[in-house]
Symmetry: C2
Subunit: 345 residues, 2 copies
């Protein structure tokens, strides 16, 4: 069953239960709980910012009212909607592919960066340059039809497990963020994922996991070539970057794919800075939020901005924190703002 359907069923059951409770026991409290669109959020400035923003832009009598067709919300994925540590899921996918393809490439045993991957040399992998990653992505994610790529992505997602949580990556989505997405959609918003990672990869599970259909996934992409296989047209994936949807690329990608400026944008790292900046430069009421990873017990703690350990995966720099404070972007503290992080907790 699709996660969105599950969530809908849960919402329905909650409603029925609340209805019964209204008659039988403590009506006021039960009703309030059933009506809370963000139950995994603690009361506080972050939750308050979301709710008051939505009330403002959907209230026709409010000067900040925005018609439904312009209610666009964009979400970064890694570190904003699901776990990105110790390493991005799609990077893990590429590394797993290197191991899988190795028998066909005996030369990799002595050739970098493949040698480091095959030898699980973490120190060497931590120092991989963009060129190294481009080589790895080129051989693992290109050289096949788009349909073949979707298939191997699906297979990987169906069995690969996170090293710490021992769960599928698609189970490592943040329940509070799913609630925000649903809450926005119930209020007429279109929710988009705007990811620095591969557009096609996220499209494999975007609908099932986030309720976001393929046409609402904006991401990085490689070039494709129109070709024929057995007389049928196919799109062949080429080892050549077509669009880099990160940093300034996120604002460019939003204009390219959506053609409208978001009303709300959610991120967690320096790669999301321009997306939030571009969102905030629009008229009227806008909502810009950054997830801060400050919960080592339930998830991870990183981001030098708040004195947490430095990291190359999901960097939250001092400069980003400075801009956030200057422009009134709202920081979401995983530790303080979320009473639940994962649905299975």
């Amino acid at each position: 069953m699709r996660l969105t359907n599950v969530l809908r069923k849960i919402a329905l059951l909650g409603f029925i239960w609340a209805g019964a409770a209204l008659v039988l026991t403590a009506p006021g409290l039960a009703q309030e709980k059933a009506q809370d669109p963000l139950p995994s959020w603690n009361d506080g400035p972050a939750k308050q910012a979301i709710v008051s923003f939505v009330q403002k832009v959907t209230d026709k009598s409010n000067p900040a009212y925005v018609p439904p067709e312009d209610r666009i919300a964009t979400f970064d994925q890694d570190g904003t909607l699901w776990v990105e540590h110790p390493i991005y899921a799609q990077s893990m996918f590429a590394l797993d592919r290197v191991h899988e393809l190795a028998p066909r490439h005996p030369e990799w045993k002595t050739k970098q960066p493949f040698k480091a991957v095959l030898g699980n040399d973490r120190a060497a992998m931590a120092k991989f340059t963009e060129g190294d990653w481009a080589q790895i992505l080129g051989v693992t994610l290109a050289g096949m039809t788009n349909e073949a790529f979707l298939k191997i992505s699906q297979e990987w997602l169906a069995h690969a497990k996170h090293p710490r949580f021992k769960r599928l990556y698609t189970e490592l989505v943040y329940l509070p963020m799913l609630e925000v997405m649903q809450y926005l959609r119930h209020n007429g918003f279109k929710t988009y994922i705007v990811t620095g990672f591969g557009q096609e990869f996220v499209r494999v599970y975007g609908e099932r996991v986030y309720g976001v259909p393929p046409e609402q996934v904006v991401g990085s992409s490689i070039s494709t070539k129109y070709a024929y296989q057995d007389g049928k047209p196919v799109l062949m994936r080429l080892p050549k970057v077509f669009f880099n949807d990160n940093f300034a690329g996120k604002a460019i990608g939003i204009n390219l794919f959506i053609g409208k400026r978001p009303l709300a944008a959610f991120g967690n790292s320096t790669g999301d800075r321009q997306m939030l900046e571009y969102t905030g430069a629009g008229d009227g009421s806008r909502l810009m939020m950054l997830v801060l990873h400050d919960d080592p017990k339930r998830e991870y703690a990183y981001g030098p901005a708040e004195g947490l350990p430095d990291t190359k995966v999901g960097t939250f720099s001092q400069a980003l924190l400075g801009e956030a404070k200057k422009r009134n972007w709202v920081i979401i503290s995983m530790k303080n703002d979320w009473n639940k992080i994962f649905a299975w907790e």
Copy 2:
């Protein structure tokens, strides 16, 4: 008032009138007329193909049934949704811009291709190479922010008139095709424009004229750069092609922007061949249609495929006709299939 609103009002009035007629006069006929979703289409194989396709894919008991989220229809614009002769509207826009910008570029008086444009040298313009057009588009459509471009496009569309019809270009849309778009949307389809011309240009009027919002316009684009003006982020248009959404580019663009294979595709020239081919390569029931311009009295007649005059604007080649016949793509004859071409007729 938006055209879609006008059409909605007309539909509503028709319904009310039909309702009154049901009570007062000839109920059967009036009801049939009110229920015809394609009143500008003559009965014939083209209309029949559209109606039976829609009935099939929306009927849950039919093996060809497709759920609403996968009901995607793509439409070429020039020559399929609106008039493209004697020259594409956006080319006319670029040529008008050359005249407008000329006082700031005295060197253009002696420099090709600008000299030919300023001297209205039709013979020279007819021979323009892709390089000539790239130069013209570079100086007329780039070198400004995206917002500035949308503004000048809007201004041009508000006053520029077609040389033969003496009407705004946005009035030269084909009513029968608007009916098809509406009919598909009423049946749960998402309608996309997939144009070889500029994505941003079509987005200016897509919603108003076709009922297609910006995020459902796929087209060619130039690169943009994230920059700052008065401390605010802007997207600067660069004189560099980013994506060419024509020929194979249409299939590539559909996958890139939509991520789903269309169920139905409409075109009129060789630039649409791969879009129809890619659509037809999907499983189940698909609808591929080509508009043939064979009505010199009400519109134009061109397309060597049917013995009509040859043209570089909207070429319908013998090869395209051959593939259409081989793959059972349906030809729409403007002369025979449409009892009305324009809403103002």
